[in-house]
């Protein structure tokens, strides 16, 4: 493409020169726009790290919430986040992967399949707080799970299900159909084909999508406020029906206090949260790379 532009170089009428100059200005503008996001991200990370990292001590990681900022810690929030992460994975992963297997390997081409598929695409666009309202009415009040880890995990499962289903469908689609046909040719049933050929092949892709979806769940705040998680909890949950708090909620509860000391605590909580998310994303990237090199 630069060849075409160098063709202009010989032309020296003022109009061509102006067009070239306009082109250069536009190129700089596009590059500058791209840098807006990059620079913002850098400033945000540096700002949070400067405020938060000095505040991270052993006491901070092992202490409970407190009215005194110098004693406050994130033990309950960290434990709650791990609980929510595991329980959400436990609920959402099998159901979502089953739904994806059905849609890719079993579903007939009829109106019902189309309805299910369109619906999944639309679910992904519902604001997370609306899932929170559903969780509040359905799990907390109607089913009587109260403000428990279970209510929170079920609510977040609904939130991440469409994402995991769509990622799993992509992974299953990528399995070459020759594999299926060879297995069918040997007399395998449909479930044997799926369980021994398709799933093992698609699993790295499915896991990558699942981890990315779960990292979104770990960062969610609003739906968990709706189901009644609060920032001030001085114990770690010992079962799925216990009350709980999570890291983003603890951060929110510190941010919403006027005192500067609590804002620094919030920054420290954010650093821990981002490290957790970064670890999850790194695992997903490693899985994805392994997957790509194998194909």
């Amino acid at each position: 493409m630069s060849d075409t532009e160098s063709m202009f170089a010989g032309v020296s009428n003022p109009r061509a020169r102006r067009r070239r100059r306009m082109g250069a200005v536009f190129a700089v503008l596009c590059a500058a726009a791209t840098m807006v996001g990059v620079v913002f991200l850098a400033v945000l990370l540096v700002d949070v790290a400067l405020d938060g990292v000095p505040r991270i001590t052993r006491e901070f990681l092992t202490g409970f919430a407190s009215r005194l900022p110098e004693q406050a810690g994130i033990k309950a929030a960290l434990a709650g986040s791990v609980w929510i992460l595991l329980l959400t994975a436990f609920i959402a992963f099998p159901t979502s992967v089953s739904a994806a297997i059905y849609l890719e390997e079993y579903a007939p081409h009829n109106w019902m399949t189309r309805v299910i598929q369109t619906n999944i695409a639309n679910l992904a666009g519902i604001p997370s707080i609306v899932y929170g309202i559903l969780g509040l009415a359905l799990f907390v009040r109607y089913l009587g799970f109260d403000r428990s880890v279970l209510s929170g995990a079920l609510t977040l499962s609904l939130l991440v299900m469409p994402v995991i289903i769509m990622a799993s469908q992509e992974a299953i689609k990528a399995v070459p159909s020759t594999l299926r046909e060879a297995a069918y040719g040997l007399g395998a049933t449909r479930w044997q084909v799926v369980s021994t050929q398709v799933l093992p092949m698609a699993m790295p892709g499915i896991l990558t999508g699942t981890i990315l979806a779960l990292s979104r769940a770990v960062g969610e705040t609003a739906p968990l406020i709706m189901v009644g998680a609060v920032g001030f909890i001085a114990f770690t949950p010992s079962g799925p029906l216990d009350r709980f708090t999570v890291l983003p909620l603890q951060v929110y509860s510190w941010v919403s206090r006027p005192q500067e000391e609590f804002h620094l605590l919030a920054a420290a909580g954010i650093v821990v949260l981002l490290v957790l998310l970064l670890t999850m994303n790194a695992v997903a990237i490693v899985l994805r790379n392994r997957y790509q090199t194998r194909n």
């Binding site: 996001g37 619906n119 604001p127 009415a137 990292s215 705040t221 951060v251 929110y252 804002h263």
Partner: protein, 310 residues
């Protein structure tokens, strides 16, 4: 074709075949149940929202809800006009759009038309990180970094203000615009670009007069989706924009969005059956319908105005 694959050969004992068929059917039914469950989520959302919203409208007139300019459900003398919350949501989303739409589109043009493949490979994941950062972190940054910055320039600004929330929400939705628009731009076939170069167009003219118009449906769809995300955004606006349902268009004042109200109301003790509990659902329904309409509109534009190339 795949249906026939389950049929067995002659030599297999009949009872083995039958039990195998039963197992296959059960598995198929189980998988179908999981897929069908996903539609129950939508049914659940609609049923739950609709049920309490109807209860709400037996006590508050629908005309007052949509035309009233005062939102004071927790005061002794209650007012249920949702307009201040709607104004708040649309002001934040509008401010975010002013930032995200041009920046996102120019980013997409840069990634698709200008950046070398190596640079693109680095920039894309970096922009994805912006979309992966929890919104509560954006809220913290808005309150402790962006707001003080605004207040040094304009000292009259409230501590909680719509402008600060708009800025971080705008940054937050840049990846939505840039990645979807970039997909649309890259789907434009190279022959169009080459044809334009052949006629003597510069790179700028190719990008803005050939590629962007050819990808317009995808770009507009990404714009609508991004604005819909901004309207549904909760934590950043709750933290940075405040909790004052204020009918104003001044971005430097404290306001309240629909989402921020839902958070505020659910933080307090709201027993079932009270009018405050029902407002959660009425406001939630309004939010749900607005975002749903925008998502459907964006999908419709994509399918209706897509330019097909061979």
């Amino acid at each position: 074709m795949q249906e026939k694959a389950g049929v067995e050969g002659e030599g297999v004992p009949l009872n083995f075949r039958r039990s195998r068929n039963v197992k296959e059917r059960l598995i198929g039914a189980g998988l179908f149940a999981c897929a069908a469950a996903s539609t129950l989520i939508t049914v659940g959302v609609v049923a739950v929202l609709l049920g309490e919203t109807i209860n709400f409208f037996t006590q508050v007139s629908i005309v007052e809800f949509f035309t009233g300019t005062r939102w004071e459900p927790m005061f002794l003398e209650k007012h249920f006009g949702v307009l201040p919350l709607l104004t708040g949501s649309f002001m934040v989303a509008g401010g975010a759009a002013i930032i995200a739409l041009p920046v996102g589109l120019l980013t997409a043009i840069f990634l698709s038309e200008y950046a070398q493949p190596g640079l693109r490979k680095v920039l894309k994941p970096v922009l994805e990180i912006l979309a992966g950062i929890p919104t509560v972190v954006y809220g913290y940054f808005a309150l402790t970094f962006v707001t003080p910055l605004i207040r040094t320039v304009l000292p009259g600004t409230d501590v909680f203000n719509a402008a600060s929330a708009s800025i971080v929400v705008g940054i937050m939705i840049i990846p939505t615009v840039s990645s979807l628009s970039e997909d649309a731009l890259r789907a434009v076939p190279n022959v169009l670009r080459e044809g334009a170069y052949g006629l003597g167009a510069t790179k700028l003219e190719v990008a803005t007069r050939v590629v962007v118009p050819a990808a317009l449906s995808g770009i507009v769809a990404s714009f609508i989706l991004a604005i819909s995300r901004a309207i549904g955004e909760t934590m950043a606006v709750t933290i940075a924009a405040g909790n004052l349902p204020n009918m104003t268009l001044n971005p430097f004042e404290s306001i309240q969005t629909m989402t921020a109200y839902i958070v505020q109301a659910s933080l307090g003790d709201t027993p079932r059956g009270t009018i405050v509990y029902q407002t959660l659902f009425a406001v939630g329904m309004t939010l749900f319908l607005i975002t749903l309409a925008m998502n459907i509109l964006s999908q419709w534009i994509l399918s209706r105005f897509r330019e097909e190339y061979e």
